[in-house]
Amino acid sequence: MTNLPDWLTDGRNSATLAAMLDPSSSSSLESLAIESRALTLRRFGRTMTLYAPLYLSNYCSSGCAYCGFASDRKTPRRRLEPDDIRRELTAMKKLGITDILLLTGERTHNADFDYLLRSVDIAAQEMQRVSVEAFPMSIREYRALADSGCTAITIYQETYNRERYEALHRWGPKKDFIERLETPARALEGGIKTAGLGVLLGLSDPGEDALSLYRHVRYLGRTYWRAGLSVSFPRMRPQTGGYEPPFPVDDHSLARIIFAFRIALPDVELVLSTRESAAYRDGMAGLGITRMSIESRTTVGGYHDPENNGKGQFDVFDDRSAHEFCNAMRAKNIEPVFKNWDPAYNGPADVNNTILHPVKPQPCL
């Protein structure tokens, strides 16, 4: 059994975060909110970056106990073919979306790396920014994704508690805890510009997971110092699998985690999806969250033909249209930002690029 890396277990730099996360701490939730809001305003201004997810396929080879798409579930499986993808993208663009997240399950024969790469290629022609949330890949695969126009990847560790992780990921490639842990580093090594991290709140002790997640972000930030980093806060909700989260996180606890992260990581993008209700998202906008998904369909496709097709990976709680959502943001004096990137900035980060001419010193010895 490979040892856990030092950066994950070393608690010396996460004491401040730990103090904020402690519900019995002297910092009231309101005081954390005030500080979080002030930092968010200063660094990010009055904006909310928007994106939408596109599920390319729900084929999966893994057996995650908590997921509606686990390979032993009866969910009908499908994947989008190139024409399907183009139709979905057209529908999404009509909603104003320019920044998309492509999703697949764990690596399968039906939705393998080549399929993903082709899909990224298609999406990059239509969208301003393409991110991917799929399966752990090799450095070479990430470089190929980056070359095709993918600028960010999201990969949740789900839980940083190894015992819980191995119990929950019952079979399939996702069972490998260390491989998943090392994934964001491989992506950044391969030239992906931004790595999105997160834990699925509810699977394990949230305080412990939050600390580990923070350490992961700090480790990546110090090592891949040119990289962008973002943190999401997916909270287990009722979903198609019927899995009951053993460590449910209530609204106050989630808010505390988000505020603490903003204070501890003032420059990192914090993301909240449509798993959360409209009221919750509106409340958190401006207090710490800087990026949100909108118009989400968590079924395969679903934008082109909304009357569609089976159960999603999770139930969408905030099902407002982009228009309604934007109105809500503006009512809070927050500008919804659909385009925060241009493909002109794409291309892998070349860490060895230097314009300096090497100096040849006089030999002395």
Binding site: A33, G221, G283, V359, P361, C364, L365
Partner: protein, 259 residues
């Protein structure tokens, strides 16, 4: 124990001393002794028979527990700095080199481009490279990337005594660095040295503040105490500062009552 790790060397003292501007070598050696410093920086200069006392090599070596860190002051280009480093290593036997390239003799600000090139070469040649730089967080990471053992950002201009004018940048450098950050230049008082250590610096380098004091050995001792205090405070964990006022209507009202 809380050691400063530089390459394969471990030091218990986090105060590094410069040897310039002292009225004479005897006072300088007294100050080094009083400071408890284990790493001392020296410059390479031409031998001058009229000033044999300028030579610090023997007297410094006679002090117990001292490791020399030659510096490249006088160099204005990477090539000159590399050459000086090679000569210095040959003479001292020490792998440490403080890369100090300041082409402008007025403000003595370090040249980042020549410094980077020199460090790139010297790191490959096996030196323990300690670059003196402006408090530039990106330059610090690039130097770390090419194999420097530490980075030495300035607190303020050499000899200016303006203290930690670059504090905000230093904070970023310290947060993001995987190697020790050693504040060098501009520290005027022991309290500033303590503050630098409280911020999380690995060590501080002090020269002018001690050398030009009326009583350099006493001042050196004071700096030693301050560095020790600051480091202990950092390790113990300082109370977080909070700078925000209370809003008039609660921001968290939308969450409702806690369940």
């Amino acid at each position: 124990m809380d050691y400063l790790q530089l390459g394969s060397y471990t030091f218990s003292s986090r105060l590094i001393l410069g040897t310039g501007k002292f009225s004479n070598a005897t006072v300088m050696l007294e100050a080094v002794r009083a400071s408890g410093a284990q790493l001392v920086t020296v410059a390479l200069r031409r031998f001058n028979r009229e000033q044999l006392a300028d030579d610090l090599f023997s007297p410094l070596r006679a002090l117990p527990g001292i490791t020399l860190m030659p510096n490249t002051s006088g160099a204005s280009t990477a090539a000159e700095a590399v050459r000086a480093a090679q000569i210095a290593r040959e003479l001292s036997g020490s792998p440490f080199i403080k890369v100090e390239i300041h082409p402008n003799p007025q403000h003595l600000m370090p040249d980042p481009i020549e410094t980077f090139e020199a460090c790139r070469i010297l790191a490959k040649e096996g030196f323990l490279v300690m670059p003196y730089i402006a408090a530039d967080p990106v330059l610090a990471k690039r130097l770390e990337e090419v194999g420097c053992t530490s980075v030495m950002p300035l607190g303020s201009a050499i000899g200016s005594g303006q203290g930690l004018a670059t504090a905000e940048m230093l904070n970023i450098i310290i947060r993001e660095s995987n190697i020790p950050v050693i504040v060098d230049a501009g520290l005027r008082s022991p309290s500033e040295a303590a503050l630098a250590m409280e911020m999380g610096c690995g060590a501080v380098l002090v020269n002018s503040a001690i050398a030009v004091s009326d009583n350099p050995p006493a001042m050196a001792g004071a700096f030693a105490g301050a560095v020790d205090a600051g480091r202990k405070a950092f390790k113990a964990g300082l109370m977080p500062k909070s700078s925000f006022a209370i809003a008039t209507s609660p921001l968290t009202a939308f969450l409702g009552a806690k369940v």
